[in-house]
Amino acid sequence: MNNIDSKTAFIIMGFLLIIVGILQSWGVAITILNLCIISAIMSMGVNIQWGFAGLINFGVMGFLAIGGLATVIVSMPPVYEAWTVGGSGILYSLLFLIGLVTFCILINKWFYDFKYKNFIIFILIILSIPLLKKISGSSIQSIESINPAAEGYLGGLGLPIIFSWFIGAILSASIAYVIGKICLGLRSDYLAIATLLISGIIISVIKHEEWLSRGVKNVIGLKRPAPYEVNLQNSQWFIDLINFINIGGDASRDLIISSSGIFVKLCFTIIFFITLLILLFLSERAVNSPWGRMMRAIRDNEIAAKSMGKNIVKHQLSIFMIGSAIIGFAGAMLVTYDGLFTPSSYQPLRYTFLIWVMVLLGGSGNNYGSILGGFVVWFIWIESAPIALKIIEFFTLFLDQSNPIKLHLIESVPYFRYLMMGIGLLLVMRYKPEGLLPEKSNKI
């Protein structure tokens, strides 16, 4: 029964995209589709944490940014000059950091029943920050002074960008390990606040450590897993292909240029879609395995699960890491699709709470639900501005073109998407709290 529902839901979604393609343009429709798929993967990540394990993670923004950072580190060409002037300093401070972490872990081990153990570690970390600045300060300065308009950072490894998706996932999972170690013992509302604030710390590090990520100066011109438009327009096979499709004879130059853009986007769509299918397959397998049943048991009744001998903290930590890894993966995909990394664009409303709306609206605890949520919410998010514009124009038809209220409303059209999200979330929470596609209850 449920499956039929989800099928119709996705068919309706497809029709909506086709309508956008006809009314606006096919380029817009495919862009929306691509971002829908990325959003669906993000919400799958959150769904794994929230829907399957009941962990509130309001730090989605931070993990997405880590994924984005991974694309820069993996795919950009290395800046050799920066490495020669400042590489050693950075390596020394990295060694220092590793040493500090090992030392803290060792203290944790040696004095594990000492009362002021945490206090010692805390003081150690406080004191190490000025030392770290001392070690890395001069080399950071010299790295940032090398060609600051285009480089001024260490660059990356120069590998294909697809690798960065996996690196992003691994990085996210390791950061999630640290965060989980600190926060997972907290009550649910504390966990929400703590993860939100920690993601703020992550963003401020990425924003201000220019030697690593170019910070607010952004990284542009990232590699692509798909062909470039300019190359396509000049290659014979592509022109032949368009001529073959175009029934009315030889295609004009304009048509070739516009269709090259669509072709590139379609390449992305195929890659993203395959990724989504693989993740969905894995996730479905995981949910229906004994492990998935155990996670649901922990979510529904922690004490009962504990009495069955399950190590709750360990399992929650592992699922927190898996969910964050998927979010980091999606973050890397997003930056790959955009082709640029802009740390200052990461804001909690767009990158944390919007994803949460997707999960809650789609149906937490159901993979198909969270994918549908990603599609629907992203579609509304993008299309609410044009729709709001139409509605405003309809209702203010009797007003003069230069009426200040009308002009003001038209100017504030982009913010109607927040209104739609708020109303949508409140309505779903009130009348269908289990979401559009509810969790399948495995009754025997």
């Binding site: 929400a192 939100l196 703020g200 710390i201 409303l349 927040y418 999200m421 708020g422 409140l426």
Partner: protein, 336 residues
């Protein structure tokens, strides 16, 4: 003399700004804490409630200014605050009646309340941006400075200038009055006491005949008053921008938890703890130490613990530390 210069420098850049910022955070944090104590959830819409209240104050300020009414050397916005409070109370009660009440009657989990408050956050965000736009608005008028740095330097023989903005003094006085009234209300009046009782133990409070609807109504009224005042003071001191108000929610949460969630006095001190550490840890002490002749004047080191870019990150880090060592906060949480 040198010592006095050093002290003035510190006052000017650390002590006065952090007391001002701390008062604004404290007012906000008390609001969050009261909602937590009585309604038992962390209200993520609070930053936007502050923005909403401030927006109403700004609109009325503009209206007053267009009527030619001003408040002398004080900012006109102070006259508009009561109107702003009334409108904010109205919208809070509206949301309580039509959104939160349903979940309260159903006895939903605190997570549901958080999610619902996210919905209201989106709504308020949209309302504020649609009505007044997303841009920076400066609505401060009247006298800007009580003590001007240049005049101070000329009239005294200190090398360091000391400046005192009108908004800083207004913030201090308003916070003092508001907190005095609030704590008097909570500790001395019958309604305030019943509020504390309800927060402390809902069942016993209900048993002794306290009307929960009245308590919740009063809580929303107090919270709206605090949100409007804190928002307006922050806007006067810096400037009004909806996005900044949303972001201010994060240090406010930090202050609330540092002070012990649910505990207004803790939240009050928590605000100052956060503000002082944010400003004191990002201040460059080079000039200060040169005045005290502790370090060599030609040094290039700024003697700054961490760069100002990490101002927000400090409050988050403090929160993480508090969560690890004392999850219930510095002052024991969960009692009004």
């Amino acid at each position: 003399m040198e010592f006095a210069n050093a002290f003035i420098l510190l006052c000017n850049f650390v002590i006065v700004p952090s007391i001002t910022y701390g008062s604004q955070l404290a007012l906000g944090a008390i609001g969050v804490t009261l909602i937590y104590g009585v309604l038992r959830f962390a209200n993520f819409a609070y930053g936007d409630l502050m923005a909403f209240g401030t927006m109403v104050v700004i609109l009325i300020t503009w209206w007053l200014q267009s009527m030619g009414i001003s408040f002398g050397i004080l900012p006109t916005a102070l006259l508009a605050i009561p109107f702003g409070i009334v409108v904010t109370i109205a919208i809070s009660l509206f949301f309580d009646q039509y959104v939160f009440k349903y979940y309260r009657d159903k006895k939903s989990s605190s997570v549901t309340f958080i999610v619902v408050s996210l919905g209201i956050m989106f709504l308020l965000n949209a309302i504020v941006r649609i009505i007044i736009g997303p841009n920076d608005i400066n609505f401060m008028d009247g006298e800007r400075f009580i003590i001007n740095a240049v005049e101070f330097k000329n009239s005294t023989q200190f090398e360091e200038g000391f400046s005192l903005k009108t908004t800083q003094v207004i913030t201090l006085i308003t916070t003092a009055i508001t907190c005095y009234i609030l704590f008097y209300f909570l500790n001395k009046t019958k309604t305030g006491k019943s509020m504390r009782a309800y927060s402390n133990n809902e069942d016993l409070a209900l048993l002794s005949g306290i009307n929960p609807n009245k308590i919740i109504l009063i809580t929303w009224i107090i919270v709206s008053i605090l949100a409007t005042i804190a928002g307006t003071l922050y806007g006067l001191d810096k400037s009004f921008k909806p996005f900044t108000y949303f972001n201010n929610l994060l240090p406010i949460f930090a202050a609330t938890i540092v002070g012990g969630i649910g505990n207004p006095i803790g939240a009050f001190y928590g605000g100052f703890v956060i503000a002082f550490s944010e400003i004191a840890l990002t201040f460059a002490y080079k000039k200060f130490l040169i005045y005290l002749t502790i370090i060599d004047p030609n040094t290039t080191n700024l003697i700054q613990y961490i760069s100002t870019d990490y101002k927000f990150a400090i409050s988050f880090a403090i929160l993480v530390v508090v969560l690890i060592f004392k999850p219930q906060g510095i002052f024991k949480g969960k009692l009004i």
